[in-house]
Amino acid sequence: MNQIVVGISDLKVSGNIGDMLITYALGSCIGVAVYDPGVKVGGLLHFMLPDSSIDCNKAQKNPAMFANTGIPLLFKSCYKMGAEKKRMIVKIAGGASIMDDINYFRIGQKNITALRKIFWRNGVIIDGEDIGENHNRTVKLHISTGKILVKNSANVFEEL
């Protein structure tokens, strides 16, 4: 199996059934995994921050850094390979926070909110999620089966 690593602020798509996409160390960042079982095309995004308005130049160079630029690019990249929105399975993981993180720099919370708004506006339904709390997560997506796995706080992969 060919393992393709998705870095921080990065996205990869594949239609090759020998591929497995993986992203490590999602803290407050969110991993978005999408898959169309009809054409066996999938993609994985690891975005870092909710909104690109803080640095529009950066967003142009690296759209995968932000929710509002990365999520549309993830879907469009999959459409280019023949995926269709109505068949796509969408799962998310990450968005963890520091403990007692009520009053400041709530990046995990803000990432989750930004993502939900974008999905709601575009009529995208989330088929599975493992978000919040305060541990790191690793996500992988097998292109052959569409299986999406998340490494939980006990360091064990479970299907999402």
Binding site: G27, S28, M48, L49, S97, M99, F105, N155
Partner: protein, 284 residues
């Protein structure tokens, strides 16, 4: 009270390279000579080799190809020499780390991340870089190198307190082992003759609110840089984000959410340009 076993472990650590402290002394003289500095460093081959590995990194912005120690010292400039020498001297302690899942290379990546972020924040807040802050960033989690073995032995017990009883990872370490990695790191820095401000920054990097008010900006900056790296998953481990958030930090630095997020964007760029620093520690 530190248990005898832990005390024995820290006493078994190799001494901190004397060269590094000597460089810091030489450089603290505003009129230091390049010859003095080169002569101080050149007998430590591992540090010299590490300096040469790092100084062509885009992070330091040298536009010439550096091939000798003398050139490195001349082109780097005062602050950057200290950064490079401390990174070169510190990395040797990150060889094997148990207990936090992800090993020495990840812990080193996290430490470099915190050091880089501390400079970004210092520039934003105080309009200057600070090599003491950089060193504190590199060493803030040094306690984990020793404590990891004990965390590994008691891992289930610690995780039970964190997952089910609302403990932070730091509190759980203290409850189960008797000392947390920050306090132990402070002990190690003391054994290595680091100045008080760096020892304090290590000891209080998760709880700067417990320090006496006054000269506490280094610990607060390390705290904030550490939180940013934990949120971004930079070299994160089993402890994840299970640490307390202190809202006082907002008033302390009058830092807006936007500025914090912009700093994170800069951090990612710096990390990308500082790959040679990360490469000082190999995967186990």
């Amino acid at each position: 009270m530190i248990s005898d076993k832990i005390l024995k472990s820290i006493n078994n650590l190799p001494a901190f390279p004397a060269t590094v402290h000597r460089v810091s002394e030489v450089i603290s003289d505003p009129d230091f000579s390049v010859d003095d500095l080169v002569n101080t460093i050149k007998y430590d081959q591992s540090i010299t080799a590490n300096i040469l590995r790092m100084c062509n990194s885009p992070y330091f912005g040298i536009r010439y190809k550096v091939s000798s120690l003398r050139e490195a010292v001349v082109y780097l400039g005062r602050e950057s020499i200290l950064h490079v020498v401390y990174a070169a001297g510190t990395s040797r302690f990150y060889k094997k780390v148990k207990g936090y899942y992800w090993g020495a290379a990840k812990l080193w990546e996290h430490s470099v991340g915190v050091a880089l972020m501390s400079q970004i924040l210092a520039k934003k807040i105080y309009d200057r870089e600070d090599s003491g802050l950089f060193t504190a960033g590199l060493l803030h989690d040094i306690g984990k190198v020793v404590l990891g073995e004990f965390v590994h032995e008691s891992f289930q017990e610690i995780m039970d307190l964190v997952s089910n009883q609302g403990y932070s990872f730091l509190e759980a370490e203290k409850e189960v082992i008797g000392i947390n990695h920050a306090e132990l790191g402070g002990e190690i820095a003391s054994l290595w003759n680091f100045p008080k401000e760096i020892r304090d920054a290590i000891t209080y990097h998760h709880r700067p609110d417990l320090m006496e008010k006054g000269n506490d900006s280094i610990p607060w900056l390390i705290y904030l840089a550490d939180q940013a790296c934990m949120m971004m998953g930079i070299g994160g481990g089993a402890d994840g984000l299970a640490y307390r958030g202190l809202k006082e930090v907002v008033n302390k630095f009058e830092l807006r959410q936007r500025d914090f997020e912009k700093s994170i964007v800069l951090l990612l760029k710096d990390l990308d340009e500082a790959k040679e620093l990360l490469a000082l520690v190999d995967n186990e």
